[in-house]
Amino acid sequence: MAEEASHTFLRQFGCEQSLLSKPDGSASYFQGDTNVLSGVYGPAEVKVSKEIYDRATLEVLIQPKVGLPSVRERAREQCVRETCEAVLLSTLHPRSSLTLILQVIHDDGSLLSCCLNAACMALMDAGLPMSCLFCGITCSISVDGQIITDPTAEQEKESRALMTFAIDSAQKGVLMATTKGSFSVTELQECIAVSQKASERIFQFYRDSVFRRYSKIL
């Protein structure tokens, strides 16, 4: 992949689905050197205290590479959970629990977007009903005002602002947004447009990899 001057440059990315035997759905997703392993259990039995009478209870756990999950992971968990809740048709499995575990293997920037992509692949692998797919894109704005998609950890550090979006596959709308640093409204709109463009490539990748998986039983 040649490094283009165009905005929608993404590092090389890839995914392997159902690589774990125990979880009902699993995926390992990498973009550049950032790598996240995810597993989904469910619909399974739910604890009475967490039971919701008309839909499934979704729990998201993010395990950092080293140490115990901190407040930062909690905030990320909330973002991933609410994004998944928005696309999952959880009313089809009331009074059951869904657990999504994301294990960070290596963090080289754009971690949250990698978590989102791994989560989507694992949910798809588990065969849970979803109204549409989603993907995560991170954009950073460098000091000279240039937008870099899918930045590395070093580019993140040098950036003036950092934004992560989750884009849905149906309307290309913004499901989730979280930002760091300050930026103008025009810059925000530009980043959204760039992310929407980049999302097309990821959705096409989703389609290709699912196709590869099912090609044996076609």
Binding site: D24, G42, P43, G127, P129, M130, A170, Y214, I217
Partner: protein, 241 residues
Amino acid sequence: MPVSFREKVDEVLLPGDVFSLRLPEFGSDVKAEKAVCGPGLRRNGDQVLVCKSGVLRHKAPNVYWIDSQQKRYVPAKGERVIGIITARSGDVFKVDVGGSEPASLSFLAFEGATKRNRPNVQVGDLVYAHFIIANKDMEPELACIDSCGHANGMGVFGEGGLMFRLSLGLVRRLLAPQSMIVKDLEKLFPFEMVVGLNGRVWVKAKSIQQTLIVTNLLESCENMTAQQRQTLFQRVAEGNL
């Protein structure tokens, strides 16, 4: 633009794909095509939404569903499954079928069972049963008799044999009429096999060794093309493994 559904049969689809049920060649205000939506598809007016990834299958005249490879079982009425008795309370057994909650199985839902003549079923036994109640809002209920009161192949498993898990997609392939995998396996040596739609398979052959061979072969079928499978079975038949 939503595309007509029929053109997509036997193609891989993803959640979020939307199709129109109207046939394009007849202009816009024709009646929508009638379709029965199976697993993985949801109807919304004239449109069909795909909510699972997999291959779109069609059965004449108008049944459509998504054939997906998933591991977790969700009970559906009428499906035959292999369950494990986990508890007995009052007049019912609790049966683990691999779904989100245990299913119940009445003492009386066995062939020839009466209030006096209780079936000889212990905790830990395997049963082959079908769902008479299975929907998202109620506790699933199993029975080992059909509507005429006959066992019809269902009931408690006898001694011996081995139970193991396969993916739901593979299990459906095993149960398909004229399944190539089963045909290839039958050529090796005789064995008994019970396949539950919940992904559990029970196998019993003449010796433990043969049982294990069948088990391992079935497990390896998960990710093999027909070609690879036949070569492998050939080698087993020749005794090279």
